[in-house]
Symmetry: C2
Subunit: 269 residues, 2 copies
């Protein structure tokens, strides 16, 4: 199993390359993650950040002292000429992670929001401004010059099932689809393509968004009444509990989706 991750939220803080989504995935799979915050490393301190603040740095983006090590090391390896893919492979291997975590691209793609309060990066909008400005449009700057990272391209070729994991369709999934070739590769994929939704978006709107490259949309049990509307958009609906509060919830949802994938693969073969 290969896990492809959005890098549209990557941003430099204090001169260091921070990859929020790569880090969340890395900390989750290495067991370092903080279940209370949903970001960062469990039990991390903020000594480094507090000292940076004393030294005049703007410290609105929370970064823990151990978390800083990740950004320092990533920045150093990138500066030595390694691609983000290679660096990520090395760092995740150092933490004993078995599954490959793959940046969507080795070229910079930046999710930029045009809001009623000016142009904001993803972190500026989401963290610094607490998602308060009204978003007029979203641009994935650099996407047209980017290409899928080599391991992403291989994974697209080799995949049996493609699962679009629960995440914000516009801020976390769309940047990946904006990388040239990705949308077409998924659209022409012959195996099952399953999308899971979080609970914070309209299932029907997403069905419309994902039409043409998704076979099954997983809906939360609470949204069972939307199944017909989703089907009307041309995508099958599968209903199951999708709210994940504990690790058990996560494992159970993953197992259910994989069982669904296996079932679809069997039916097609």
């Amino acid at each position: 199993m290969a896990i492809v991750v959005n890098t549209g939220d990557d941003e430099r803080f204090h001169g260091l390359h921070v990859s929020p989504d790569l880090d969340t995935m890395t900390y989750t799979l290495s067991g370092l993650y903080n279940p209370e915050t949903g970001w960062g490393i469990n039990g991390d301190s903020f000594e480094t950040l507090q000292m940076l603040n004393r030294l005049g740095a703007d410290t609105w983006f929370n970064l823990g002292s151990r978390d800083f090590a990740m950004h320092i090391r990533r920045t150093e390896l990138l500066a030595q000429g390694s691609s983000l893919s290679r660096v990520t492979a090395q760092l995740t291997a150092n933490l004993g992670i078995a599954h490959p975590i793959i940046p969507m691209s080795d070229q910079p793609v930046r999710t930029v929001l045009d809001t009623d309060d000016g142009t904001l990066s993803m972190q500026e909008y989401f963290v610094h401004r607490r998602a308060e400005p009204v978003v007029r449009s979203i641009e994935y700057v650099g996407a047209s010059d980017a290409e899928p990272s080599p391991d992403f391209a291989s994974a697209l070729d080799a995949a049996s099932t493609i699962i679009i994991c629960p995440s914000n369709p516009f801020l976390s999934v769309a940047p990946i689809l904006a990388v040239p070739g990705v949308r077409d590769a998924i659209a022409s994929h012959t195996g099952p393509r399953i999308a899971e939704l979080g609970s914070d978006v309209s299932a029907v709107g997403v069905a419309r968004e994902y039409r043409g490259f998704c076979d099954v949309l997983v809906l939360d049990s609470q949204d069972a009444n939307l199944a017909d509307a989703v089907s009307a958009e041309g995508i099958d609906a599968a209903v199951m509990p999708t709210i994940m509060q504990t690790d058990d919830d996560k494992v159970q949802l993953a197992e259910r989706v994989l069982a669904l994938a296996a079932d679809l693969e069997n039916r097609r073969s």
Copy 2:
């Protein structure tokens, strides 16, 4: 009073610009210093360094989590195009330090030791190898292309008394003297020039080294018997307690040396 500091020990660790002598001076004057180790910040943790180690970095050089903030911020400001002088002025001002701490040069000068175990940087030799290899010669790489930092040049022009503080003459003082123009400026200085010695070097050897640009050599009371030998090298000897174990010891030595300087200035005027 302006404090000029050796930067020959500066080195990049984890892609960050570390200035050990600037940091020791900065932490000392801001009250952050660790009196037990003689380096770093009092009460600092090592979470960042330990995590860097897990991520495959070579972590023989001890850097605390708050200490890292200094190196991160310095590196960022340098990368934005600021000189080491300007960056140091900014960082020390942020910590409320009243006296200017001035890097000897804004250009890189690196103290490199030719040893029986190969060529080593100052930190490699002193920290990593615990000063065990036999040193054949010392080179101050880059010195011939360097110039005194602007504030150092101004301080040399404006100084009444020049005090060479207690420090290793070859590893901490000589790099400063190797910057073109510095030795001549001190030699032609008309005010008092006082050198203080640490206890780990031969007073007579240093008198020979400092001949021509030093009027008075401060000897420790334990070395009072060397006063005549120092005078024979053409430098007056002043004897006082110089071993500093407490802050009070440091203040007392500073006050004695400043009184000596005032006395010399009066006699010349």
